[in-house]
Subunit: 358 residues, 2 copies
C-alpha cells in the first residue's frame, strides 16, 4: 500500500519561496468548497453560526484535502495557546511522573494539553526550555526549578507567562507555589531514627544546589537540635544527583567505613537514593535494618516493593500536581487572581527498613 507515493517528490526543482510543500490551507478549502475564507474559519471556530448545508460542504472539502489547521498562524492571530508545560527535574523519578499525572488530570479537565520537559537537574537545559516555552507563548509554566533564584524564572511572569513553582516554596511574590513542608519531612525522618535509639546518623543527598536537598537536611538538623544533640552529629554524604546509581555509590562509601565509625542509620534525600543505597549495602553484606536503618523520601510506588520495604516520607504527589495546575489556570483566567503559597504536610510511613521485622 504505497499511500505516500502520490505525495512524494511532487516536484524536484522546488519553487523559490516555498519552504515546505505542506498541507492545504483555509484558502484552498474555501476554494474547493466554493465559499469564502471567513466561512471556513467559522466552521472551524463557531460551527453553530454556519448553516448545516454549507458546513457539510466545507467539512467535505477539508476531509478530501487533508486540511490540518496551522496552529502557529492561529496562535499568532489569536494570541493564546492551549498548551501548558511542566518542566520537571527528572523524568526517571516516579515522584515527578506522578506529579505530572496530577497536572495532566487538571489540564484535561480544562481542555488544555500538557507538554513535559526534563531539565535532568541541568541548569542549562532548564534555561533552554524556559526560553523555548516563553517563545512558544505557552499558556503557563509549571516548574520544579533547580535554582529558584534564577533571574530567568523571575522575569517570566512580568512578561506575561504565568509560572507556578511545584515542590518548592518560593520567597518571591511573583509566582504561586505548591510545596510540601520539606523541613518538617526531614524532622519526621530523623525524630523517628532518634526514637529508635540511633546515634550515628548519615544524611545522603546532593547536589547542594537543589532546594529539596537543603530543606530536608535542615529539617534533619533541627530534629537533632530539638533532641539536644549537636547538628554536627549528622554525617553528610553528598551525592552528585538524586539517582539510584548515586545511591549505590553512597552505599559503597558507607560500607567501606569501619564498623565502629559507620553510621547505624541513613536518611536519604529521596527514594531513588535510598533504593540504590539499600541495594548496594545488602549486596556488600550489611543487614538492613540491623546494621543500617534506612529512611527514604517521597514514598514512590517502588519503595514498598523493595528488597527491604522502605520507610519513607510520603508526599501527596498527584494532589501536588493537580493543585499547581489549578492555580495556574486560575492565574491565566481570573483577573482577580492573587498569588498563593500552598503547603502540604508530609507523613512518615514506617516499614521494615527501620523497624525490623517486628
Amino acid at each position: 500500500m504505497s499511500v505516500d507515493d502520490a505525495e512524494a517528490l511532487p516536484e524536484r526543482t522546488r519553487r523559490r519561496r516555498t519552504p515546505k510543500p505542506h498541507a492545504a490551507g483555509v484558502k484552498a478549502v474555501a476554494a474547493a468548497a466554493g465559499v469564502s475564507l471567513g466561512t471556513v474559519s467559522n466552521v472551524l471556530n463557531r460551527p453553530e453560526v454556519v448553516s448545516p448545508l454549507t458546513r457539510a460542504k466545507v467539512e467535505a472539502a477539508m476531509a478530501s484535502l487533508g486540511f490540518v489547521r496551522n496552529e502557529s498562524a492561529r496562535q499568532l492571530r489569536a494570541g493564546s495557546s492551549r498548551i501548558l508545560a511542566y518542566v520537571m527535574l527528572d523524568a526517571g523519578n516516579p515522584f515527578f511522573t506522578d506529579v505530572a499525572k496530577g497536572v495532566e488530570e487538571a489540564a484535561q479537565a480544562a481542555g488544555l494539553s500538557v507538554f513535559l520537559c526534563t531539565s535532568s537537574e541541568d541548569a542549562d537545559r532548564e534555561a533552554a526550555y524556559l526560553d523555548l516555552l516563553e517563545q512558544q507563548r505557552v499558556q503557563g509554566i509549571l516548574i520544579t526549578p533547580i535554582d529558584q533564584n534564577s533571574s530567568r524564572l523571575r522575569k517570566l511572569p512580568s512578561r506575561g507567562t504565568p509560572v507556578v513553582v511545584v515542590d518548592r516554596a518560593l520567597d518571591d511574590a511573583s509566582h504561586c507555589s505548591v510545596a510540601v513542608n520539606d523541613i518538617l519531612g526531614g524532622e519526621l525522618a530523623i525524630s523517628h531514627l532518634l526514637e529508635l535509639g540511633h546515634e550515628r546518623i548519615a544524611y545522603v543527598g546532593g547536589p547542594n544546589t537543589i532546594g529539596q536537598v537543603i530543606d530536608r537536611r535542615d529539617g534533619a538538623r533541627r530534629a537533632l537540635r530539638t533532641a539536644g544533640k549537636p547538628t554536627a552529629d549528622l554525617i553528610e554524604l553528598t551525592t552528585g544527583a538524586l539517582t539510584v546509581a548515586e545511591g549505590r555509590g553512597a552505599g559503597q562509601r558507607l560500607a567501606g567505613l569501619p564498623a565502629d565509625r559507620r553510621p547505624t542509620a541513613a536518611f536519604c534525600a529521596n527514594d531513588l537514593l535510598a533504593l540504590g543505597l539499600l541495594q548496594q549495602c545488602v549486596s556488600l553484606g550489611l543487614r538492613v535494618p540491623e546494621d543500617l536503618a534506612i529512611v527514604g523520601y517521597d514514598d514512590i510506588e517502588f519503595a514498598e516493593a523493595a528488597a527491604v520495604p522502605l520507610t519513607s516520607v510520603r508526599q501527596p504527589r498527584q494532589l501536588l500536581g493537580r493543585t499547581a495546575a489549578e492555580l495556574l489556570l486560575d492565574e491565566s483566567s481570573n483577573p482577580d487572581h492573587e498569588h498563593q503559597r500552598v503547603t502540604f504536610t508530609p507523613e512518615l510511613v514506617v516499614r521494615t527498613s527501620t523497624r525490623g521485622t517486628l
Copy 2:
C-alpha cells in the same frame, strides 16, 4: 518586592483588538535601536552579517525592552519548528522514560528540543496529542502507539509530519520503526522457565490491544510449541493495564487458586506487573521462587532492587530512543531517506526470582 505591580492591569478597559498586552516585538526593538526590521531579524538569525556596532545597539534594545521572539510567527514564516515530540504509553513506566532519555540525547546533539506527551494507554488521548502535534507542525513525532493501525497515524507522514514508531515493528511502509524482537523476548522467558522444569505457566498481561502484550504472549506460545507442549497450557491472566496496581490484582487472583491448580511460574508482560505481582504474592505468603517463579520484561532499574531480585528480559532502552531520534532526524533532513525497520535483540537476565538463592 512587588515587581509585577508595574505590569498589572495596565488598562482596565482593554482596547478592542488587543488580545494580550504581551511583549515588545521586532518592530519595537528596531525603533528603539534606530534600525530597520530586517536588521533586527539579521541579529537574531545571521548575527555574522551585521556590524558589531549595530549588533550591540540592537542587543541592548532587546535586553532593555525584554524582547522575546514570537515563535509562532517565526514558525509561520519559516515553515519549520525546532521541536520534536515523543508520545509515550506511560510516563510512570521507567522503561519509557529511559527511552525518552535516549531521544533527548540525540535531539540535543542536533540542537532540537523534545516535548514529551503521555497517552496513558488511552486511544483518545493519543489521538488528541497527534492532532495537536500535527497542528503545531512539529518537526517529527516519535511514538509508541497503542494501536499501530490507527489511520491517523498512517496519514501523518503523507501530510508532511515524519513519524517513527518506537518499540513496535510496523507492517506499514510509511514509517521507520525501531523495535526489540518481542516474540523472541517471550520465547527467552518461557524457555528459561521450561528448562527449570515448570509445567503450569501463567502469562500476565493486557489489555490485548497493546502490541507488545500480544507479541510477548505469542513468543511464549511459540516456546511452548517448540518444546512440544500445547499452547493451551499457557494460563492467561489478562490485566487492564501494565501497572504495578494491576500486577497486584493479578497476584490476588493467582494466590486465590488452590495450590494444585495454581501455576508454578508467571511471565509478566512488563516489570511493573511483575513487581506488583511479586509484592502481592509475598504479602499473601507465597514464596518466590519456590511457590511461584516470576519473570518480568524490560529490566528496569527497580527490577534488580526488588524484594526478590527479578529475572527479566532486558531491552536496550536508551539505544532504542537514540536510534529512533536519529532515524527521524535523517528523515527530515536527508532527501534520499529510506524507511528502515531496525530490530534489536533482547537478552534474558536471570536473578533470584526464578533461580532461587543459588
